[in-house]
Each structure stands twice: as C-alpha cells, then as structure tokens.
Subunit: 221 residues, 4 copies
Amino acid sequence: MQGDNPLTSPSKPATTRRGRPPSVAADDIVRAATELISERGLRGTTVAAVAERLGITDGGLFHYFPTKGALIDAVIERAVEHQVSRLRAFIAPGGLAAIEALGEWGTVNEETPELVALQILLSAEAILPETPVRMNQVQRYAGVHDIAAGLIREGIERGEVRPDVDADWEASALIAYLDGIRLQWFYSDRSLPLGLYVRRYFDTVIDRIRVPSPNAADPDA
Amino acid sequence: MQGDNPLTSPSKPATTRRGRPPSVAADDIVRAATELISERGLRGTTVAAVAERLGITDGGLFHYFPTKGALIDAVIERAVEHQVSRLRAFIAPGGLAAIEALGEWGTVNEETPELVALQILLSAEAILPETPVRMNQVQRYAGVHDIAAGLIREGIERGEVRPDVDADWEASALIAYLDGIRLQWFYSDRSLPLGLYVRRYFDTVIDRIRVPSPNAADPDA
Amino acid sequence: MQGDNPLTSPSKPATTRRGRPPSVAADDIVRAATELISERGLRGTTVAAVAERLGITDGGLFHYFPTKGALIDAVIERAVEHQVSRLRAFIAPGGLAAIEALGEWGTVNEETPELVALQILLSAEAILPETPVRMNQVQRYAGVHDIAAGLIREGIERGEVRPDVDADWEASALIAYLDGIRLQWFYSDRSLPLGLYVRRYFDTVIDRIRVPSPNAADPDA
Amino acid sequence: MQGDNPLTSPSKPATTRRGRPPSVAADDIVRAATELISERGLRGTTVAAVAERLGITDGGLFHYFPTKGALIDAVIERAVEHQVSRLRAFIAPGGLAAIEALGEWGTVNEETPELVALQILLSAEAILPETPVRMNQVQRYAGVHDIAAGLIREGIERGEVRPDVDADWEASALIAYLDGIRLQWFYSDRSLPLGLYVRRYFDTVIDRIRVPSPNAADPDA
DNA sequence: ACGGGCGGGACGACCCGTTTTT
DNA sequence: AAAAACGGGTCGTCCCGCCCGT
C-alpha cells in the first residue's frame, strides 16, 4: 500500500547473500498482514489469505513466520515501532510544549489508518482475560500513560501547568479521548476530521490546566 | 460471522416476542452467550461452549437459535435493550440536568461488566468494513450522539448552556471519553474507579459549557 | 473383517436410547482402526481413512473420539482387554500346568493376526524415548513378565520345576521368543506354523526346567 | 515413505561407493540420520531435523540424497554393512564353534544401541504389507536364517551336533530370541545385561543340541 | 414444543518433502 | 550449497442439519 520503501530495502545488500532472491521480503509480509487484519480482524485473517495477497503459498510464508502467532507478533512489533518513533519527536520539547505538540497526534494517525485499525482491534482483544495480546497491550497503555503524566508533571515543575492538576487523571482522560475518537473516525468511514477534533480537544484541555497568563487573567483591566 | 443475517432475520423473527413472551430457557441461553462472549470474544465463542455451559447439547440449542448469527443478534438486542432502558431514565429531565445525570453512567456500567465488555468487542468489530455488526453499531452510535447533542442544544435553548458551544463536537467528545475510559477499566482488571472518573469528567465538561452563574463570574470581587 | 459380532453389539439395547440410531458403533470404529493400523502402521493411519472405511466422515468420527490419540488409546485398550481375557483362562491352573497351557498361545494368536500386528508395532514404537505409548508398553511387558515368572516360581514350590531354575530369566526368555517368532510369522506371510513352533519351543523349555520323573531319569533301567 | 525408491535407486547409485569412497559429509549425514531415527522413528524423523543437527539446511542435504527414501536406504545399507562385517568374523570358524562365538552377539550389540534400535524399528515396519522396507528386511532375515541353519548343519556333518536336530527350527528360535530380547533391553532403558543374557541363552541351546561328550554321557559312572 | 445423539462438509493451522533459483 | 517457494496432506474442530425420543 505504501509502495516499496527505498530506505529500508537496499540498506543491506552488501552482505554476501546466497541463494534465491526473495520474491517478497519479510517486511512485505508484515505489511500485507497488517492490512488484512485491519480489514478482517485478527481471527478473520488467515495465513493463507496473507500469502495469497503476496502471490505466494502459505507454505512459502512458513519460511518467514513458522506460525500465525509469530506473524502477528511481528505485525504488532512493527506497529509499535512506527508509533514510538513518531511519538518521540513530538514529546521532545517536554512539558506543556510537548502536550501542545501531541495535539497533532490525530493528524499523524490520519496517515496510517490501517495501523489505527490494528490498534483498535488489539485494544478490544486485550480486554479478554485469556488472550495472548493482553499483557502486551496493558503494558503499552501503561507506558503511554506514564509518558503523558510525566509531561504534565514536568509542566507543573516548570510553572506552565497549574499545580493542583491531577496529572494521572488528566493523562487517563487524554488517552481515553484518543482511543474513543478513533472509533468514531472509522464509524464515519474516516470522513470525520480526526486531526481537527484532536487538536480542538487538546486546546480545551490545555486551556483548563495551564497557568493563566497575567494579562489574560484580567481581561477587564 | 452471523451468516446470511439480513436474509433470515426479517423472514423469520424467531426470537422476536410476537404472540408470546420468550421462554425462560431462551433467555438463559442469551445470558450464557453474553458471558462467554465477554470472556472469549465473538469468534472465540462456539455454540457448543454455550450449550455446554447450560448443560445441553448444541443440537438442543439449535431449537432456539437456528444459527450462530441469530444467537448473536439476540445477544446484541438484549444488551441494547438493557442499555436503552437505563438511559431513558437518566435523560428524562432534559437539558443540562440530563447531562449531569449522565455523569452517573460510569457507576451504572460498573454493575454489568459483561455487557460493557460485549459493547467494547462490538465497537471494535464494527470498524471492519465487511462485518455484519457494522451497521448495527454505527446506527447505535448515531443514536447516542443525537441524544447527547440534543440535550446540549436543549440546554442552550433553556439558557443553561453557553450559546457558542458546539453541541455536536461536545457530544462526540463525551462519547469518545466514555468509550475510551471503559477500555482502561478492563486493563486495570476493573480496579479503576469507573464511576468516579466519569463523574469527574462530566463535571469538567459541565464547568466548561454551562452559562456562568452571576456571582461566580467575578471571583475577584 | 470379522463381520458384525452379534455378541457385543446388542448387549446394551435396553438403555433408553434417544435420537437417531448410530450407523456405526464405537466398537466398529475401534475395530476398523485396529485393522488399518495393522496394515499401515500408527503414523500411516489417518483418522480420515478410518472414517472412510466406515462410510462416515472424519467429522462424524469426532463424536466418538475427539482426537486421534483418544482413538489409539481405545484401540490399545481393546487389544489389551482381548489379550488379558484369553490369558486368564490359560494360567488358571497355575504352576507348570499353566506353563504347558501357555504353549497354545501361538495357536490363539493365529486367530487374530491384526491384534498381533498391532502388538508388534506398539512394541517397536515403545523403544522410542519420547513416544506416548512407551509407558503403556513397558508396564504391559512388566505385567506379563511377572505372571510368567510367578508361574515358574509356583512350579518350584509345587516341586514341579527344578529349584535351581532362574524364574526371571526363564520368563524373559519365553517372552523374547514369543515376541521374536511373531515377527517371523509375518515375514513368512503368516505361512509359518506359529502354533506348532510355539508349542515346540515350550516343550523344550519345559523339558529343561521340569523336575525329572523317576522312571524317565533312568531309561536304561 | 521412501517415495519411488526402486526407480531412483538403481538409476543413480549416488551413495554407492563406485569409483571413489563416499565423502565425509555424506557419512556424517547418514550417521546423524541413524541417530535421529533411533530416537524418533522413521516417520517421526524429518529431513529438516537431520539437516539441522548437522548445521546445514535441508536444501544442502538434498545434494547428497535427492530424496528421503535415498537417505533411508543409505542408513539401512550402512547398518547392514556394519552388521555383516561383524558377523563374518564370528562365523569364520564354522560349525558349533561359530554358534558358540555367536553367543557374544549381544555384547557386540551393546556397543551400538542406535543401530539396534534402527533394526527393531525396521523389523516392525516390515510387517506392513505395503512398506518399501519389507522386502529388504525379509531378505535380510532369510540370509541370517540360512547362515545360522547352515552352521548347525555343518555342526551335524562334523559330528558336533546331534543328527536329529532340526537346523531350520533351531535357527528360527535363535533369531526369535535375539529379536525379542533386544526389545526388553530397550524397555529396561538398556540396563538389562544384554551380553550376559544372550550368552546364557546360547549356552542352553548348545547344551541341548550338541553331541554329548563320552564322559559326560554317563554321569553316574 | 423441546431436547439429544449423530453425522456432514468445510476450513484453518501446521508442517513436510521437494524443486527451483541464484 | 543456501534460500525461497510449492503442493499436498493431516489433524483439529466448528457450524450446522438430519433424524429421533420425550
């Protein structure tokens, strides 16, 4: 869907590779699997379907991922890596500035709907007590929560955020909104302006938690 | 997943209470199915497992629900009815009072975790383009959205809510938060105080959208 | 192969059986599986082949034996039961008389070649360290060994067998011969006179271990 | 199991040492395959597992043995050669002396348990009517039988063995015991003193079939 | 009407032996 | 010699009908 990424593929041709050149790369498989999962769900996606989309057989796919679980693990890992790398750039400034930057998160998500869909499916699957993806998702949520709460606390320390703000609760609310609005994005066939909505939501939150600027505090003056 | 759902349902409303109320056994089946689905997911739940939990065979279950799709339809219908009946009581006052009352929605949900889990699973399933539950969920969301937005507009008309408030956006944000926070509730093994969090969130929203009371408008005085 | 055994099938029609009469009984399945295993080996026998021989599908077979392992367990159990019931009659007299009676074991085996083949295959499979049938077979061998050694010891106590005979070694040798000669029976396409050979072998053993009769001890007299 | 064994083998005697000795690698493969087969059985051993144990890929193995059947043929051939070379030394003296020497056969076997295990597995596999190893094994048995019976007949001609001894039956019994006691060896985790037991068995047989020495003939004198 | 034993297809995941390509 | 891919096949088992008893 995103074409052949010219950055990753030829990055390692120098190694003395012997044998038949692959008609598909492992990355292609993971990408195809991600797409199919975002279309049919985890259980609705068969390894044969993934192979078929790539023009190979499931036997051939076996060389890359010996089991469906391994394939799904790779799919999840790739999605997480993608998200983390993007996230890191946003939160670099730290404090309230980072929170403001996170307001663009919706715009970023608009570019990769299949990863967002995957995330939603995994989120729901993770509520089941026995599912293997549960721990993964719970930890991911905890990580994101800690990042957000940490930024807010940093804002308090810097004097940008009001000291009486409950950082944990605000982080929880921010994540909840992001998780929920993405559902609506798909319900509207992605016609809902996700970037705009998220931006707007962040603005209201920032308005509420920031320390009032001196001249804005007394508009009547 | 639900077979030729749109074909059989209207032709043979087997589970529709028409002529006489459903037998007790049918309700037991639906309840057991709801529990199992909330534990193992839609696809992870087999009709045989439902039957086994009830002490009957899948052949016996076949008399009540000729197909798995029909059973799932009944499960969804029961969940929706349950939700709607509760909701109706909350929004009876109308306007801002109804919005305030909705702040107790989290507390209500705490009593029926299996219905909440079912709702989450259906929400996620509904983002898939081909799934039979999609339309159902999208319409449900539209209905809830209209109710919430309607209450806000009513609040504006009554002078309780500031006239510049975007009713549709606020409704969307409210629903998004509710959808998202429920996920966190399950991630925390339901130890997160769902009722408290929702109540608190509603308070901040109401604070933001309500028309300021005269004496609170000038705190400096 | 042995037709419908009129003894076992109608033995339990008195129970209030409901539903469709089975086209095949569990016993038929076990019998068919035994035959196929004796023709193609354990791993060479597929559940589909067993079902096909019975005229049903593997899905139908699933109602009786949910897994191949369960089917094989039943096959083994039936073979053991068959063997044990026969064996009991032979060893009833006890002592040397029982040993003599066991000389007819070969003749008995000639009637059920498929059970003998099954036994051979299991014997060989059991030498593998990881196989699930190993323990089963080892215990079976120990049981048979104890029975044979016990009979010999009984013969010693009764004064029928020479007191210097090593009961354990003799038992081991007897079983070894029986196991080995059955192989040759199959190598000869069962044309080797198994009953005769075994009878003859037992005679030489009995000749060697029995207490000499007084008048036979001195034929010249 | 061995594919079109009779077709490929004669057309391409890849493993036959004709013109030059086999490469070391081929011998390693055969040895590794022998070990694996003795651990997991014929069908339980995959070519990939053999290759993995050697640190190569199954594709690499393909250069030495174009098919699994060819590999198994080589494994059998090596085992037979090993056995035959040992056997030849034992039977060199001929007559009863050779029989006595064969009493050490158990001791010899104790040194190569994996070859014994292979032999047991092949023995059992050979009772199946359709297996490609059947003819091989049957012929091997016939050969061993002829050797043993020939030695006994030679003993009779030399006046070492009583003339009324049935050479064929005695040979059959000897082989049967050897085949059977090896099973017990494995059942006991090879703790059974195989060499001792076989030695002892041969002694009883020789006692029975040899021409009585003049002074031993009249113990009363 | 309710329920149960039984059987039918179908398909998914796994994996295996083999061939093709470089 | 390695790597990639194929085609086949086994096992599990799932959803669903066909009949029959109560």
